[in-house]
Symmetry: C2
Subunit: 233 residues, 2 copies
């Protein structure tokens, strides 16, 4: 379902677990242990070669190694979090995570504060064709769209609006975090051929295509950041 959970870029070599360290570790084990002390370096090869071979192939070894990899994966993320959170160098794991929680809450709150005031793009693709006004015999349509940002978006938009014989009399464009929100007031150049209804329909087709079409450039690939704004669940 979500195999990205295993694709962490950080994979440290677990070079610390030599056969020696394993042998040392198993000295604590209550079984198979000779009571007389012996040279640890030659312990495995000279005293218990068969046991060593058995252990090399045992499930216990792979189990503990897998567990070490798991721990390393978690700790790697924790240390990158530590770099992101200021003044967290000396915190223990619980305090660090608590600080991360505070940070995320704070940042989310700020983003919400801003989006309450500004026309910040949300994570939901959106096309709104809101109202039409008559100003001195010409048709004016107010339009709002929100989608992923991409370099060729405006050329597509301009080409489409040109085809519909529309000119923009007012625009408010906000691009943020790879998302873009555009609000336009569009005026029909010659209000001869098309009715308001057909104009709005054509506009809806155009804008829906622009909003849903993927980028033809490699722009989106470069921006792999996860979106923050989400539909209220």
């Amino acid at each position: 379902m979500d195999n990205s959970s295993c694709s962490d870029q950080y994979w440290p070599e677990s070079e610390s677990h030599t056969s020696l360290s394993w042998a040392l570790n198993f000295q604590d084990s209550p079984f198979l242990l000779p009571t007389n002390s012996c040279d640890v370096t030659s312990f495995q090869s000279s005293y218990f070669p068969t046991w060593s071979q058995q252990f090399e192939a045992s499930a216990s070894r792979s189990h503990s190694e897998a567990e070490k990899r798991r721990r390393d994966r978690i700790n790697a993320q924790l240390s990158t979090l530590r770099k992101l959170i200021p003044r967290s160098e000396k915190m223990d794991k619980a305090a660090l995570l608590r600080s991360v929680v505070d940070h995320v809450k704070d940042l989310k709150g700020r983003a919400k504060e801003i989006s309450n005031v500004l026309n910040t793009p949300s994570d939901i693709d959106e096309v709104i064709i809101e109202e039409e006004e008559d100003s001195s015999n010409s048709i004016v349509v107010k339009v709002s769209l929100c989608c992923d940002d991409r370099p060729e978006l405006f050329s597509e938009l301009n080409r489409g609006l040109k085809n519909l014989k529309l000119t923009t009399v007012e625009s408010n464009i906000t691009s943020l975090g790879g998302r873009i929100k555009c609000i336009f007031a569009l005026q029909s150049i010659n209000n001869s051929v098309c009715t308001i209804h057909s104009l709005k329909q054509s506009l809806r087709v155009l804008l829906s295509r622009i909003v849903t079409s993927p980028s033809t450039s490699n722009f989106r690939i470069k921006s792999k950041r996860q979106r923050f704004f989400l539909p209220p669940t």
Copy 2:
């Protein structure tokens, strides 16, 4: 140094570790174990009462209990993080933390994008008295201050400016996340008594006092969110 790291509000009762569960756990231990099976519920009291009492008072018990508390503290923070990050219900710990890293990076990036465009308040207290312009015989001073937001700030500011015989001809105020940034253009009402130099000095005293003085209301106590914007290290 940082005893807040131990003051997590989440303290689950470790009710799972009864004496029974401990006895059960020690059945796996290779020592002290009778080969014949016995009633587990009466195992502790009838067979090994002295060992049980020893164990109750041993350092090993408090050690493992402390370790359990530590694990619980970490896992509590992880589960609150899970609530903050969407679509993270089925992720394992490493994937969750990776998602948190992405989120924090994304949110920080957004905040930076916004602060590049807007006059967002930073985390550094700041008083700037920038330049003075002459417009038709009166003195105009441009002023910028950034500090913690609090309800009584503007009344203090207005009172101080009134005392200096200054009126605001232009203002740009941005409040975000408990911080506030104000940019004023101030005009001297009667440019008779004071020179530009003494006016600027009086202004600096006034604004520095306002920036550094703590809130007299309980406003700051309620807003305990950690600041996000920080001085570049």
